[in-house]
Symmetry: C2
Subunit: 400 residues, 2 copies
Amino acid sequence: MACNVAILGFGTVGSGVAEVLDMNKDSITAKTGKEIAVKYILDIRDFPGSPYESLITHDADQVFNDPDISIVVETIGGAKIAYEFTKRALSAGKSVVTSNKELVSTHGVELLKIASDNNCSYLYEAAVGGGIPIIRPLYKCLAANKIVKIAGIVNGTTNYILSQMKDEGISYEDALAQAQANGFAEANPAADVDGIDAQRKLSILSTIALNGSYVAPDGINTEGISKLTLDDIEFEKEIDCALKLIAYFSNNGEGKPSVYVAPHYVSRKNLLGSVDGVFNAIMVEGNALGESLYYGQGAGMLPTASAVCSDVLEASVTDGVPAEIRLWSEKAADIESYGEIKCDIIVRLDGRADQALALFADYEASKLSGNAILVKGIRHKDIEGILEGESDSKWFHYLG
Amino acid sequence: MACNVAILGFGTVGSGVAEVLDMNKDSITAKTGKEIAVKYILDIRDFPGSPYESLITHDADQVFNDPDISIVVETIGGAKIAYEFTKRALSAGKSVVTSNKELVSTHGVELLKIASDNNCSYLYEAAVGGGIPIIRPLYKCLAANKIVKIAGIVNGTTNYILSQMKDEGISYEDALAQAQANGFAEANPAADVDGIDAQRKLSILSTIALNGSYVAPDGINTEGISKLTLDDIEFEKEIDCALKLIAYFSNNGEGKPSVYVAPHYVSRKNLLGSVDGVFNAIMVEGNALGESLYYGQGAGMLPTASAVCSDVLEASVTDGVPAEIRLWSEKAADIESYGEIKCDIIVRLDGRADQALALFADYEASKLSGNAILVKGIRHKDIEGILEGESDSKWFHYLG
């Protein structure tokens, strides 16, 4: 029995999908009991000389009107054409597998509903953490838990830049240029360095953690890494931390869920503090399980294709039975406003740690060095007021 | 709609299952669309005063003959009564969820077949890594990969003992006594300290990694931790490693798969080297994904119950559709004999590292300190011969 797949968008991930399905054809056939064959690759470009040249089509109708196609892989990216094509495929009862975090985080509510209405699947394991299993562990393996906390390094580009600043002792600008030269950052790096990519991924993780109560990306307060200096990076040694861009979710039962993206000084005692380079890692705490961590390659051709292809296998096995659909609610989640969120912070007042302690006397605070203190459980809105007038003061989120 | 569950064996994990199903009742009902209710708890003991006292029964027939029971949780342990009860439940078309690594590793081939024949499920996520999602990630999220390597810290008791020896500077015997006093080791610790528990878990992981080709536990060469000295532990600082009991699987396409359990010096650059105390972590390398790592609490009441309960949810959702069944083959996997397995080792000849280099001149070897060298790609059977006559020589496996 054959299962025919169409790949939409033959870029890095799309071509990786074709390669992985070829490379592991025998074991995939053995596992699923059917041959999974790529029948079309839809792209506006030609790929002369590619081994997949004969599968390239520019005709979307050919793909969507072919009843032989039961699974569509959407690796176009963005939320325009990809959105139209995904709706069209799902409406035709074809399961869609995607790595597109922008689309899932923006239109997941609608697309999952269309899939459910048409008895097919919309699977997005690859949208967060690249190849790292995180979506399925979160909503299936931890299904019996309430998700209390998520803290993730979910953007490889920014983690690479921060690691390079540390290892090479170079500025943010130089590290970014290096990342671009090495293909780890795009010519326009805004979506990565401004934290937008992390925001989209956190939107997806938070929505699942809240059982489908939708956390829209644009409602998540987000701070990127572009203002970080080499001095900030080098300071991490003094307090035995590593500076990381963290996507943070907390729902500990006290008040509304907290959701934000920001640089954090992460304690070296936390495994997240040892995750360097383009790697991603996500810590998930369940109320029964306690803390768990998922680590691996969060981007790249084959790692991301690994997750996409595993979803293709899932869709092929459950063909006609829309497994793995858990709808997202149209009602937006009621998350805490950023100012009201309580957090732990590192306050740096060089040479004046004791003075800093005095400033935060109303809080649980402790001295880390002559230059910095740790303050626990302070509301975002209260921080700036206390530090007002303290020239050269700086503060950062802290993750223990 | 209700889904009735029977728990067999009301020990640590069994009582944790009842507690988690209670504690998260609302969210579980919301997720599954049905109320999951414990109807019976089968145990030879009474539990006067327990909130679950009224559910206790001593009558197995009552459980197995009740058509209302669709899911049976087997948390008895061992491979005798648990084996009989599991066969009986599956034969009656009741899905069975278990944390019993001994039973799954010994009789998995037969029990999965009985489940399949009776259109129900036999789920064992909790049998390896306690609450850590590993079974489902391995065979579902990495389904499009060939599994190239697994290296796991899968036994919390031994990891706790090794961590205590390091942190407290105490002997193996004292650390074991401490672990027993703290409830982390049993009165008869043999299954843990001799590596048998790790062997069973590795049997399960290897069988899945080989697409169901069965790797029996008693075919896995296994060395425990009872011969390790405080000197061995303290030596790890000199070579920037951590001594860990590693369950190891490799199938890199060169020859037959390698499978064994042994203490390893793990490089501090490897995340596994930072996993201390009762925590577990499992590194899995797929040929598309590359390396990934899964970390969390590998034992304990609520963490293990977390995995069991998530499988219960899975069984309740797929009621009547035996999802998640991938049969194991009756034909045993053809794994490499221990002597023929090539491995990386640390050889210690105190004060005579150069002499050690000369002994292993035919191999890729490098000096780590004045006392130790690293030798790569040597067959187990060749090691002892080379070291014969070298008094005070010691060797250990190495994981980079």
